[in-house]
C-alpha cells in the first residue's frame, strides 16, 4: 500500500523514519518506547530481513544488546585438565610400581646368590665345578708343559 510510504529529505544514505500502527486498535500509533523495546528484542530478525548486520544497519539511539557468549555446562578446561591429570597420575603410579618391582627383584637375586653359595658348601666342596674327591690333592701331578724346560727357569 503505497500510501503508507512518504518520500521526504533525501540523504546520501538509505535512511527512513517509521511509525508502527496497531491495526487491531483502531490504527493508533504504538508509543516509541514500546517500539524501541521490540526492536531491541528482535534486532536479529530485522537485520536478517534486510540481509544486513548490526554494523551496517543502525537504529539511531538504540544500542544493540549483546548476546552472551555460549558457555557449556562443564567448563571445557576442566575436562582437559582431568585428562592431563589422569595421564600424569598413571605415569607416576607406573614408575613407582616398576621401581618397587625392580627393587624386589634385586633383593630376590641377592638372596638367591647367597643361598647358592651356601648350597655349594653343603653338597661337597667344589673346585671349579670339579668335585674335590676326583682330584688327587695329596699326590700332585707334574704338568709336563712347564716341567720340561729346565733352562727357562732362572737359577738362583
Amino acid at each position: 500500500r503505497i500510501s503508507n510510504v512518504l518520500v521526504c529529505n533525501v540523504t546520501d544514505r538509505v535512511s527512513f523514519w517509521f511509525v508502527v500502527t496497531d491495526s487491531s486498535k483502531n490504527v493508533t500509533t504504538v508509543p516509541g518506547s514500546e517500539v524501541e523495546a521490540a526492536i531491541r528484542m528482535n534486532r536479529n530478525r530485522i537485520n536478517s530481513a534486510f540481509l544486513l548486520s548490526d554494523k551496517t544497519l543502525q537504529f539511531l539511539k538504540i544500542t544493540s544488546t549483546l548476546s552472551p557468549p555460549v558457555e557449556p555446562s562443564t567448563p571445557v578446561w576442566l575436562i582437559v585438565f582431568g585428562v592431563v591429570l589422569c595421564l600424569i597420575v598413571a605415569g607416576i603410579v607406573f614408575l613407582v610400581v616398576a621401581g618397587i618391582q625392580q627393587r624386589k627383584k634385586k633383593n630376590k637375586e641377592s638372596t638367591e646368590r647367597e643361598n647358592l653359595e651356601e648350597k655349594g658348601e653343603v653338597t661337597g666342596t667344589l673346585e671349579n665345578g670339579i668335585p674335590c674327591e676326583a682330584l688327587d690333592l695329596k699326590a700332585g701331578h707334574i704338568n709336563g708343559v712347564f716341567a720340561a724346560d729346565d733352562e727357562r727357569f732362572t737359577s738362583l
Binding site: 544514505r13 557468549p69 578446561w77 582437559v80 585438565f81 591429570l85 600424569i88 607416576i92 614408575l95 613407582v96
Partner: protein
C-alpha cells in the same frame, strides 16, 4: 661405582642446553634486543663472562664428581658456603619458577575452547554492555589479570587462594615429579622431548610468522641498531645480567649434570657448544616473536585507521569504501582543511605504526598478553595457542629439571639422608614441600611476590656466588692445579684465553656488574606496577612503592644464599683455631 650416569653424551648436552634455554630466551632476550637496538654487546658479555664461567662449572662437576655442596667442600672447606648458597638459590628459584609454568598450563588447558576465552569480554550484570574492567582495558588483559591471577590492587592485600591455580600447580608439580622421580635416569628420557620440541614449534612459528602481514615491519624494527642506546650504562648492565642468567650459572645444576659424566670428557667443547646453542636459540626465537609483534602492531594500526574511517564516513555521509587505508591521510588533510571543526569534533585518535611497535613488554606480559592477542588474530587460533603454550611449558620444564637436579644431587650426597630411603621417596618429598610452599604464590597477590622473588632471589645472589666461584677456583684452588685437572680430563691444557678470563677478566667483570647493579637498585626505592581497576589512570598500571616489611623480605632473599659463604668460612676458621689450640 654406583653413581648414576648419562645414557649417552647427547642426553647430557641436551640436558645442559635445556637447562640454559628457558623462558627468558623467548621473552626477555627479544625485548632487550628491541629496547637496546641489536645484540652486539651481548656477544661481548658472552665471551668474557658467560663461556668462562660455564666451562668452569662443567669442569668442576666432571672432575670432582659431586653436586654443588660436595664439590665446593672438596675445593676448600672454607668455600663450602658457595655450594650451600647455590643449593639455596636452586630451592628458591624452583619454588617460583613452577608457578610461572602453572600459568602456562592454565592457558594451555583453556586453549581448547572456541572462541578462545581471552578473545571476548564477558557481559556485565544487566547484559547491556561489556564488563567494565574488561571494556576499559582489553579482553586479553582482563583474562590475564582477573580470570587467571585474580590480582589484588596491592601487594599487601593477599586475597584468597585461587582454586584453579592450585589445581594447575598440583598438576605442574606432579609432572615435575614424574620426570625427576629417579633423578637423571628419568629426566634423561624426558629431555629428548622437552628440549627438542620447542625448536620444532619455533620453526613452525617462524615460517608462519614470516607470512603474516606486517612481519617485515616488526623484523626491521628489531634489527635496526640504535647506537644512541650504547651510551646508556643500563644497556651494558642488562646485557651482562642477561647472559649470566640465561646460561643458568651459579645454580649448581650444571655442576650436578656434569658430575654424572665419565671423567674423561671434553668439557671445554661442551661449554662452548652449550653457550653458542643458547645464544643462537635466543636469536632464532626473536625472529618469530618479532614477526608476530609486527603483525600485531600492523593489525592494531589498521584497526585504528578503520575506526577513524568509519567515524569520518558516518559524519560526512560518504559512500562506503570511498576512504581506504591507503588514501586515509590524503582524505584527512583535505577534510581537515575544508571542515576543521567537524574533524575536531570527531576526536579521532592519531594512528601511528611506530607507536604500536613501541608497545613492547617483556616477561609474562609478552607471552600472556601480547602474544595471546596476536594469536586471536590468526586463523586457526586454537592450534597456534596450543602449540605456543606447549612450547613455553617444555622450555620451562627443561629448566626446572636443572633446578631440581641442583637441589636433589647435593641432598643425595650429604649423609643426612639415610640410604634406606629410595630415590623416588626423596624426590617426592622435595616436590611435595615445594608445592606446599608455592601455594602462597596462588594468592591474589601471588604475581607481585613472584616478581619480588625473580628480582631479588634470582639475580644478586647469583652474581655473588659466581664471583666467589671464580675467585675460589682461580686463587684458592689455584689456576695451575685446575688447569692440570682439565688437561687430564680433556687431553689438552686450557689455553691463554681461559687462563686470563678465569684469573682476571671474569672476576673483574662480575664485580663491576655487581656494583653497578647495587648502585642502580638503591638509587630509587623499589617500586612495582599494580593492576588497580579503581585507579584514575586505569588501564595504565599504578606505580606503588613496596612497604618496609616487603623490602625486608627482599633483603632476606638476597642475603639468604649469600650469607652462607662467610658463615661456613667462619665456622671452619673457628674449628681450625679450636683444633690447633688442643
Amino acid at each position: 661405582d654406583g653413581r648414576p650416569k648419562w645414557d649417552n653424551k647427547f642426553q647430557y648436552i641436551l640436558s645442559c642446553i635445556g637447562f640454559a634455554v628457558g623462558l627468558g630466551n623467548v621473552w626477555r632476550f627479544p625485548y632487550l634486543c628491541q629496547i637496546h637496538g641489536g645484540g652486539a654487546f651481548l656477544f661481548i658479555a658472552l665471551l668474557f663472562e658467560g663461556i668462562p664461567l660455564l666451562h668452569l662449572e662443567l669442569a668442576l662437576g666432571q672432575c670432582l664428581r659431586k653436586g654443588s655442596i660436595g664439590a665446593w667442600n672438596t675445593i676448600s672447606p672454607y668455600l663450602g658456603g658457595v655450594g650451600v648458597g647455590s643449593w639455596m638459590v636452586s630451592v628458591l628459584v624452583s619454588l617460583y619458577y613452577n608457578t610461572v609454568l602453572t600459568w602456562v598450563m592454565w592457558y594451555f588447558i583453556n586453549s581448547f575452547q572456541e572462541p578462545l576465552p581471552w578473545s571476548v569480554c564477558p557481559l556485565n550484570e544487566n547484559r547491556t554492555g561489556l564488563n567494565e574492567e574488561c571494556y576499559k582495558s582489553t579482553a586479553v588483559n582482563y583474562f590475564w589479570y582477573r580470570k587467571t591471577l585474580n590480582i589484588t590492587p596491592d601487594v599487601t592485600e593477599s586475597g584468597t587462594l585461587q582454586w584453579w591455580l592450585i589445581l594447575c600447580l598440583a598438576t605442574c608439580w606432579a609432572i615435575v615429579y614424574l620426570c625427576t622421580i629417579r633423578g637423571i635416569e628419568t629426566t634423561g628420557k624426558a629431555i629428548y622431548v622437552t628440549a627438542i620440541f620447542p625448536y620444532l614449534v619455533l620453526t613452525i612459528f617462524l615460517i608462519h610468522g614470516l607470512t603474516l602481514p606486517g612481519a617485515t615491519d616488526g623484523l626491521a624494527y628489531l634489527f635496526t641498531p640504535n647506537l644512541n642506546t650504547l651510551k646508556n650504562p643500563q644497556v651494558w648492565l642488562d646485557a651482562a645480567t642477561q647472559i649470566f642468567f640465561s646460561l643458568s650459572l651459579a645454580f649448581g645444576g650444571l655442576i650436578a649434570f656434569s658430575s654424572y659424566n665419565p671423567p674423561k670428557n671434553d668439557c671445554e667443547k661442551d661449554a662452548v657448544t652449550v653457550a653458542i646453542v643458547n645464544s643462537v636459540t635466543s636469536l632464532y626465537a626473536s625472529i618469530p616473536v618479532f614477526s608476530v609483534l609486527g603483525f600485531k602492531a600492523t593489525t592494531g594500526y589498521w584497526d585504528c585507521l578503520d575506526r577513524n574511517i568509519i567515524s569520518i564516513i558516518n559524519e560526512f555521509d560518504l559512500p562506503e569504501e570511498s576512504i581506504m587505508r591507503q588514501n586515509y591521510t590524503a582524505w584527512l588533510t583535505f577534510l581537515n582543511s575544508s571542515y576543521p571543526e567537524k574533524i575536531a569534533g570527531l576526536k579521532l585518535k592519531s594512528c601511528d605504526l611506530q607507536e604500536f611497535l613501541d608497545q613492547s613488554v617483556s616477561g609474562t606480559g609478552l607471552a600472556f598478553i601480547i602474544f595471546t592477542q596476536a594469536i586471536i588474530l590468526m586463523p586457526g587460533s586454537q592450534a597456534w595457542a596450543i602449540l605456543f603454550f606447549t612450547m613455553l611449558f617444555c622450555l620451562g620444564l627443561s629448566s626446572m629439571f636443572g633446578n631440581i637436579e641442583g637441589v636433589f644431587t647435593p641432598l643425595l650426597e650429604l649423609r643426612i639422608i639415610p640410604k634406606s630411603i629410595p630415590k623416588e621417596l626423596l624426590s617426592g618429598i622435595i616436590c611435595l614441600i615445594c608445592f606446599l610452599v608455592a601455594l602462597c604464590f596462588t594468592l591474589g597477590s601471588g604475581s607481585y611476590w613472584i616478581d619480588v622473588f625473580d628480582s631479588y632471589a634470582g639475580s644478586l645472589p647469583l652474581l655473588v656466588l659466581a664471583f666467589f666461584e671464580v675467585i675460589g677456583v682461580a686463587y684458592v684452588y689455584k689456576i695451575e692445579r685446575f688447569s692440570k685437572d682439565v688437561k687430564w680430563m680433556t687431553g689438552r691444557k686450557p689455553n691463554l684465553y681461559w687462563q686470563i678470563t678465569w684469573k682476571f677478566i671474569s672476576p673483574l667483570l662480575l664485580l663491576i656488574v655487581f656494583v653497578a647493579f647495587v648502585t642502580l637498585q638503591i638509587q630509587k626505592p623499589p617500586s612495582y606496577a599494580a593492576w588497580n581497576p579503581k585507579y584514575e589512570g586505569f588501564p595504565m598500571k599504578e606505580e606503588k612503592v613496596y612497604p618496609p616489611w616487603v623490602l625486608a623480605i627482599c633483603v632476606l632473599l638476597v642475603l639468604l644464599p649469600s650469607v652462607f659463604i662467610p658463615l661456613v668460612a667462619l665456622f671452619h676458621l673457628i674449628k681450625q683455631t679450636c683444633g690447633s689450640k688442643d
